[in-house]
Amino acid sequence: MKISEMEREEYVLPGNTACHGCPSTVALRTVLKALDGNAVLVIPACCTSVYMGPFPNSAIKVPVFNTAFASAAATASGIKASFELQGRDTEVVVWAGDGGTYDIGLQALSGAAERGEDIIFICYNNEMYSNTGVQRSGATPYGAWTTTTWKGKREHKKDVSELMLAHGIPYVATASIGYLRDLYEKVRTAKQIRGFRYIEILAPCPPGWRFPMDKTIQMGKLAVESGMWVLFESVRGRLRFTGISKSIAEGRRKMKNLEEYLLAQGRFSHLKPEDVEEIRRFVLKKWERLAMFVEGEVDAAVAKFYV
């Protein structure tokens, strides 16, 4: 699909209060275009609650319902139930950060996924609590500096996209701010499917990750090129890698050096060589795990993802 074929209407308006270089606005703009604006957004506490702008204004042109931090998926379930009874086919979409997905929002997310609620849950993952000023979350990677891990986080991140695969829901996908057409197409695919759908977008945050604000998109690409972030899509249990991750998995492309990605970010500037090795081991394991989901395309035992 060409960019020129994307929906022209804008649903995220200029004049919003996001930071310069914010990945979330770019991602939301793309998502709402892919949904043709026929959506109600449910937004728990996150950066978007702020950058949508203060009452009585709003930078978002579709109906938005703000809800408490822990309860996005549950609120969306209620809205959808109401719409179904009224015979309205409006898509109900949760737009949450990683705090509202990985941590405080996980119970409601898991419950809604298990119930098979007919909603799309989108996590824009910037790997920390950025709205409150960069604290660690369950999505923060090993070694990363935050204001609650001053010497670097000592634990690896968990992975909610894999957790959603385990829920057996009809659609799970990952995306990156570096590849907006891929994101657009995944939202389009999700729209064609009924039931609980989960999409997670890597959203590199310049002030939180400590990199220049004109490098957001590049950082999103580098994350995928270095194998640190994996693009995939699982439709009714059939998982396939997409984009550059697919080329990497099929051996048609070598991963970029992990250091190139890590050292471009101030949050990793203190890493020692053994920390980088620890991250490398973790990333490789993730690839092998994901490869096991893919039938026929990749043989995990012989896959050589790294140079």
């Binding site: 809205i79 109401s82 009874l85 409601a108």
Partner: protein
């Protein structure tokens, strides 16, 4: 004259609440089980599965989510109901604030129960009273018919365009929730019109709900909620009359008074023990002690003027089935403030029935003549 269709059935308080939700044409129910409110959820689930109740029933994974889903459903334009108790209500706390500030007219049945530890599943009004500042209206029932009527009346109140606030319909756990009584299951078609939301989420008319609210606007929002509570008190009188016109049942929304006019001592209380207080009053009157009862139905909004008018020159005994440690019974605190012109010595606090201790007519008799605040045993 109204031609009201009804049937009388023997129902527990919980079943009554479920049937009231069904006949109030509730469209979305999101709930989570907790003793002693669980049978409300079970009954509704059965009514929906059997096709008797045209509603979506969402069995969520927590009470926090139950209230969140109710708020969402209400914001999307449907009449919404849930039921809970005790720890469940405490777990909802954040969303109770959200429901009030969001102006979603949800009605919730609360089977009052103590909060642990230690685990105590019995009646105690402390669970809902500790939610008194959330902005919800709170109505306390004393028998099953009242539960049935009050749920429909609560929707009339909550959904009024000038009120738009959620309401709790509270009843003592087990004492009412699990006790069977005859209940007239009247239809509410003449009383409760179809829900017409004042606002709802709609892609045709997009707006953003609940975004950042600057201080002045936030003060306006909270002030408006207070004003709605004031209006609710006035509307309650009208709804009581209208309900009586149609159903010939005197179901109070503000308060019930019993032999107060000539009384020398007045018992003020709430909930199921209000019925027992009337028995005690009759018994004491046989012994030539002139006792009256004021059973408060509406705790939020608090009917300050009404109690002042009734009690200003009486000797008042306030019976709380809850305690706010560090101060005293919540009802006592409120009355002390409402009757600030009354000499304090004419206002006596009593704390009874905590953690489900049975409150008998002799409990009242004993407490009226002894100077102790606490009654911690069953007086038989």
């Amino acid at each position: 004259m109204y031609d009201v269709k009804y049937e009388v059935r023997i129902l527990t308080g919980n079943e009554t609440a479920a049937y009231a939700a069904m006949n109030s044409e509730v469209r979305v129910v999101a709930a989570y089980p907790i003793t002693p409110a669980t049978p409300v959820v079970e009954t509704i689930s059965r009514l929906v599965e059997d096709g008797k109740m045209r509603a979506k029933f969402i069995m969520v994974e927590s009470e926090h989510s139950a209230m969140a889903a109710c708020i969402g459903a209400s914001a999307a334009g449907s009449r919404t109901f849930t039921a809970t108790s005790s720890h469940g209500l405490a777990y909802m706390h954040e969303m109770l604030h959200w429901a009030a500030n969001a102006r979603t007219p949800i009605v919730m049945a609360v089977a009052n129960r103590a909060i642990g530890p230690g685990w105590n599943i019995w009646a105690d009004l402390g669970d809902s009273l500790s939610q008194r500042d959330t902005g919800w209206m709170q109505l306390y029932c004393s028998h099953n018919q009242e539960i049935y009527d009050t749920i429909a009346m609560a929707y009339r109140l909550a959904e009024n365009k000038r009120i738009l606030l959620p309401a709790m319909v509270c009843y003592d756990g087990f004492t009412l929730s699990h006790t069977s009584m005859p209940v007239e299951l009247t239809e509410f078609v003449d009383f409760l019109p179809d829900y017409e939301p004042v606002w709802m989420l709609d892609t045709e008319k997009p707006f953003t709900h609940g975004n950042i609210l600057p201080p002045e606007e936030f003060a306006e929002l909270r002030h408006n909620i207070q004003k709605s509570h004031d209006r609710a008190l006035r509307l309650m009188e009208k709804i009581e009359e209208e309900f009586y016109e149609i159903y010939r049942r005197r179901t109070p929304l503000i308060l019930e008074e019993y032999k107060v006019e000539d009384a020398e001592k007045v018992i003020v209380t709430m909930g199921a023990i209000g019925s027992e207080a009337k028995v005690a009053a009759d018994s004491l009157r046989e012994k030539k002690v002139k006792v009256g009862v004021v059973r408060l139905k509406s705790f939020r909004p608090f009917p300050e003027k009404h109690v002042k008018k009734l009690l200003e020159d009486k000797k008042v005994f306030v019976f709380d089935r809850a305690i706010s440690p560090g101060s005293g019974g919540q009802l006592y605190q409120e009355l002390k403030a409402a009757l600030s012109s009354t000499p304090v010595k004419r206002l006596s606090p009593r704390v009874v029935g905590i953690g489900g201790i049975d409150v008998t007519k002799r409990t009242f008799e004993k407490a009226l003549f002894e100077r102790k605040i606490w009654v911690k045993e069953v007086v038989s």
